[in-house]
């Protein structure tokens, strides 16, 4: 028996001809907090839905607690907050929670749930389907924790929340971490993954492109760039792009960025080409940048696909 709480083994999921998740493998250790990070359409929700047993992998398998995720004994140990779930109508918040408490062998008490989730007492007597976005999210949070789960999933938990609500949510998640719960969440906010998780699994176009501690990922993906200002932006970009050492070149906020592994060579070229470069800077590429680049690439790919489909 391994200590892994979750094991994803060579999982692929296709929807028709599109491959949402492509040959993905990872295991998750007990007590860890893992962020599944990626731009929209990267396959985050698909992998979480498969881990929860809501959809079947086309190939490969997923085990939670060494069993099929659909197993009742697994469901007793997991909780989840999914995207776009409205609570059933015609029930009050406290009734929904009471209902959920009846599903689990050792549920948390109402008082514990209130303390853990920041659910407000005055919300308990409201109709569950008539709550505001933030209140609904708190109810969803409480429902995810009702069974006192060992493993908790949050799928894009902070989308649409304001900054205060977001901060509060992560505070509560940190409290859960301290209790030794295993937490898996998806997000497309890099900052959240960096702040909360001790491991980031970076997804792009259905594949894992990096997996590790946020710092390790930053190093692994560290790319450096030379940036400067120039009067003739177009010429500068064109000429730099033709250099073999430059992997890509782009303009952002009046500055031209040349991404490279060899900043010295780029500097040398910069002077030799006589591009009138001013305010030159050498930067260690940040994870944000890599992420932004991926997101942009993905959006373009999506746009192209839509264009293609429309034809």
């Amino acid at each position: 028996m391994s200590k892994a709480v979750a094991e994803v083994h060579q999982v692929t999921r296709k929807f028709g001809k599109t491959t949402a998740v492509n040959n993905v493998s990872f295991t998750i250790e007990k007590g860890s907090t893992v962020a599944i990070l990626g731009p929209n359409g990267a396959g985050k929700t698909t992998i979480v839905s498969m881990m929860l047993g809501l959809i079947e992998p086309t190939e490969g398998y997923i085990h939670l607690f060494n069993k099929n995720p659909k197993h009742i004994s697994v469901r007793e140990k997991i909780g989840a907050m999914l995207q776009d779930v409205s609570v059933v109508d015609k029930l009050k918040v406290h009734e929904v929670i009471a209902l959920f408490r009846s599903y689990y062998p050792s549920p948390l008490s109402m008082a514990e749930l209130i303390a853990l989730t920041g659910l407000e007492k005055k919300d308990l007597n409201k109709w569950a389907d008539k709550l505001s976005g933030g209140q609904k999210r708190r109810v969803g949070f409480a429902l995810a924790l009702t069974g006192n789960p060992d493993l908790v999933f949050f799928d894009e938990p902070t989308v649409g929340l304001d900054i205060t609500a977001r901060r509060l949510f992560w505070e509560k998640v940190n409290a859960l971490k301290a209790k030794g719960k295993t937490i898996i969440f998806t997000t497309h906010y890099l900052q959240e993954a960096d702040d909360v998780a001790e491991r980031i699994i970076l997804f792009n176009r259905g594949e894992i492109i990096a997996d590790g501690h946020p710092n390790a990922i930053k190093q692994q993906l560290a790319i450096r760039n030379v940036s400067f200002q120039s009067d003739d932006t177009e010429k500068a970009i064109q000429q730099l792009q033709s250099l073999p050492v430059v992997s890509r070149c782009y303009q952002k906020d009046e500055r031209i960025y040349a991404v490279t592994e060899d900043t010295d060579a780029v500097l040398a070229a910069l002077f030799k080409l006589d591009l009138n470069a001013r305010n030159i800077a050498i930067e260690q590429g940040r994870l944000e940048e890599v992420f932004e680049y991926l997101t942009k690439q993905n959006e373009e790919a999506l746009k192209n696909e839509q264009h293609y489909n429309a034809m």
Binding site: L52, L82, D84, V85, V87, V88, K90, L91, S102, Y103
Partner: protein, 245 residues
């Protein structure tokens, strides 16, 4: 076991808190009953028989409506709002979820039957023997199964709007063509022939026979049974197709 009891309780609670149920399944049939047995002069030879007959029509009309509409539309709602998937990750087994829904539905049907029967007694003093009351009520509860199967088909539809549109039309068409609003002998012959093959006609017919002191005809039982099996088979096929997507 606690969870199933709780689930049943909650389902019943939700149905009774639904104003559409109270309006369509209770108020409408009772108002119709009042109008067609008191206000409109139907010139029937046997007034007492007509009053009992039409009471059965309206009770069957009510139960058929909640079986097709409430059940089906509810299923679509719960699916489109993500609630059905959310339930799948709880330890409550799917069969328990479904059983609770059926239980809620049955309680609701029973309640409708009792209330409309009482209304018939209060409005027109309809008097039947205990056996007739009991067996006509029981018939209406049991023979509503094919309509619940139609409800599961409605429940497989993609959007709440489509589901409610389709089920409304289906419901009213079945009610009118099956002779629940007006007896089929006033229909042209071809419509009478059509009614002989509709589940709604046989649903009503069973109860109409019981209050006349007869048993439901074998044909009624066979037609309703056939529809039940047919709709369940289609429903299972649709479900399998949707799940494989």
């Amino acid at each position: 076991m606690n969870s199933i009891t709780m689930q049943c309780k909650v389902e019943v609670l939700r149905i009774f808190r639904n104003p559409y149920f109270v309006f369509w399944s209770l108020l409408m049939p009772i108002v119709f009953y009042f109008i067609f047995t008191n206000i409109v002069n139907t010139n029937v030879p046997d007034v007492e028989l007509w009053q009992a007959h039409y009471l059965m029509s309206m009770t069957a009309f009510s139960v058929m409506g909640s079986a097709i509409m409430t059940f089906g539309i509810r299923m679509v709602q719960e699916r489109t709002q993500g609630w059905s998937s959310f339930m799948k990750i709880t330890p409550l087994p799917t069969w328990a979820y479904f059983t609770a829904k059926m239980f809620g539905q049955t309680v609701m049907h029973l309640f409708s039957v009792i209330l409309i029967f009482v209304a018939g007694y209060l409005i027109n003093g309809v008097s039947l023997t205990f056996t007739q009351w009991f067996f006509s009520g029981l018939w209406i509860l049991v023979a509503s199964l094919p309509f619940l199967a139609i409800g599961t088909l409605v429940g497989a539809m993609g959007k709440v709007e489509t589901a409610s549109g389709v089920s409304n039309i289906l419901y009213l068409a079945l009610a009118i063509l099956g002779g629940m609003w007006f007896p089929i002998y006033i229909f042209p012959t071809f419509l009478q022939n059509l009614a002989e093959w509709l589940p709604s006609y046989h649903f009503g017919s069973g109860a109409w026979e019981i209050i006349r002191g007869n048993s439901p005809s074998l044909k009624s039982v066979l037609v309703l049974g056939g529809y039940l099996i047919g709709f369940m088979a289609i429903s299972a096929l649709v479900r399998r197709k949707q799940e494989s997507m």
